[in-house]
Amino acid sequence: MPRLINLRPGRAGALLLGALPFLATVIVYLVASHARLADNPNDKLLPAFGSFAQSIHEFAAEPDQRTGQVLLWLDTQASLTRLGLGLAFSAGLGLIFGIITGVLPYLRAGLAPFIATLSLIPPLAMLPVLFIVFGMGELSKVVLIVIGVSPFLMRDLALRVGEIPGEQIIKAQTLGASSWTLILRVVLPQLLPRLLDALRLSLGAAWLFLIAAEAIAAEAGLGYRIFLLRRYLAMDVILPYVAWITLLAFALDWSFRLANRWLFPWYQGGKNA
């Protein structure tokens, strides 16, 4: 009998093993839901799959009676816009401050302690301040994502600049680079794939801040909807919404990974060139 560490599943085996926890979860849910509904047909906690289908149809295919809009798409659009704006501003700030603190010793001395301190402020504790300063509109939600994500990006990218071998930096100077062209031609292009990696890592935090901000004050949005429906114990809508958010997060993560592979073939050891 070989050691367990040397036993490896085949391709099909790995796929099957990966699917098992998903299947198990569905089965446990179905059994529990069936048992509760047999006791009380009006139970709202664990709805049957039939009620899911009905509410998904209601929210994703039919216009809302009051507003005339299809709520799932309205909410998705509102949330993705906030998330996209928040991530885009964070990426821009992260790149700018990551590069200048990574490359220029004077700016590092001046800014790094401040950025390190900023990154320690719990962003959610700042949420009331943001609502007071920026109002209850879109801006405060986007700013929450930015202050939650950008300090991490700045510090991470500054570290990535430090990982560029010193030999390269000296070589660039002997090829005639100024500080500016060194940033433009040597540092920035090597940071872009690392930025995408860092953004992937911060997607979870970005969603957290988005849903938290929407839960408190919004007129549309995925987080707004599930917190609104919580009052009615509408698990038949909340659970599909959570599944939809998970799917969106997965798709974003996957598209970032794909973009990295397509845009920066050299980053994967030039394998795709």
């Binding site: 000296i170 070589k171 100077q173 002997t174 090829l175 005639g176 500016w180 062209t181 050299w266 060139a273």
Partner: protein, 265 residues
């Protein structure tokens, strides 16, 4: 005309003396190999030539001017590793030096200027035998090819001085013989001063017009840091024989053993 003039140069870090009383005159178009035990200031000397370190005392003139305080395009460098840009193809790696020179604002060339520059790049790639690999990224190249690329990158700038910091140390012996032919050929065609640091005394003898040995004259166990290294041999090449090679091997080994003994104690 002397390309390089060093007089009574000392380099100290605190109370540790690295180089003491270094004197050196270098004429134009010399190929100097530098050998010596580890910790004998070869790398410090190279870093001073680059402009990364300042001498503690003494004069260090290049073309009669004081040494610039930072690396610049008149002094090219090839390190043992990591001196090509991983995000650029072979062609763009060589083109970069021309772009940085001709487009100081954005570091990029377009149109006819770019085409003219690329012609020079392709000529250089032919000269170092890398034209076929022009579209590849460095990660796809072997170590020897990466060093060829790094050399091409520097030589296309026509530097007055080319610094080579153990450029072939990580290569197979067969490969480094090819590289020797390449570097000698480039040196003769481009008229520059080459300083090559090497661990390999035999390589130091085979290449170049002049061999410098960096070594500690005094080995004091009580105060190992009090005495620095200096140039102990300055030999014009072409006339040296086996006896000299053996003598040099013996003296650098003696220092090497001393340093090891200190490290072990």
């Amino acid at each position: 005309m002397t390309a390089l003039s060093i007089k009574r140069l000392w380099k100290e870090y605190g109370d540790q003396v690295v180089l003491e009383n270094l004197n050196l005159e270098v004429k134009d178009n010399e190929f100097i190999t530098v050998v010596g035990a580890s910790g004998c200031g070869k790398t410090t000397f190279l870093r001073m030539l680059l402009g990364e370190e300042r001498p503690t005392r003494g004069t260090f003139l290049i073309d009669g001017e004081p040494l610039p305080a930072e690396p610049g395009p008149d002094r090219g460098i090839v390190f043992q590793r990591y001196s090509v840009f991983p995000h650029l193809t072979v062609r763009d790696n060589v083109l970069l030096g021309l772009e940085l020179e001709q487009a100081p604002l954005i570091g990029r060339l377009f149109g006819t200027k770019r085409r003219a520059a690329l012609e020079r790049v392709d000529e250089m790639l032919h000269a170092v035998g890398m034209y076929e690999a022009r579209a590849k990224y460095p990660a796809q190249l072997s170590g020897g090819m990466q060093q060829r690329l790094s050399i091409a990158q520097s030589v296309i700038k026509n530097p007055k001085i080319l610094l080579l910091d153990e450029p072939f140390a990580a290569l197979d012996p067969g490969l480094s013989a090819d590289m020797h032919i390449l570097i000698l050929d480039l040196w003769q065609r481009h008229k520059m001063n080459i300083f090559m640091i090497t661990h390999d005394i035999k390589e130091g003898f085979e290449l170049g017009t002049r061999l410098l040995v960096f070594d500690k004259v005094r080995l004091d166990v009580q105060a190992p840091n009090a005495y620095g290294a200096t140039i102990t041999y300055d030999i014009p090449l072409g006339i040296s024989g086996k006896k000299l090679l053996d003598e040099l091997t013996e003296t650098t080994r003696r220092t090497e053993r001393f340093v090891d003994k200190l490290a072990a104690a």
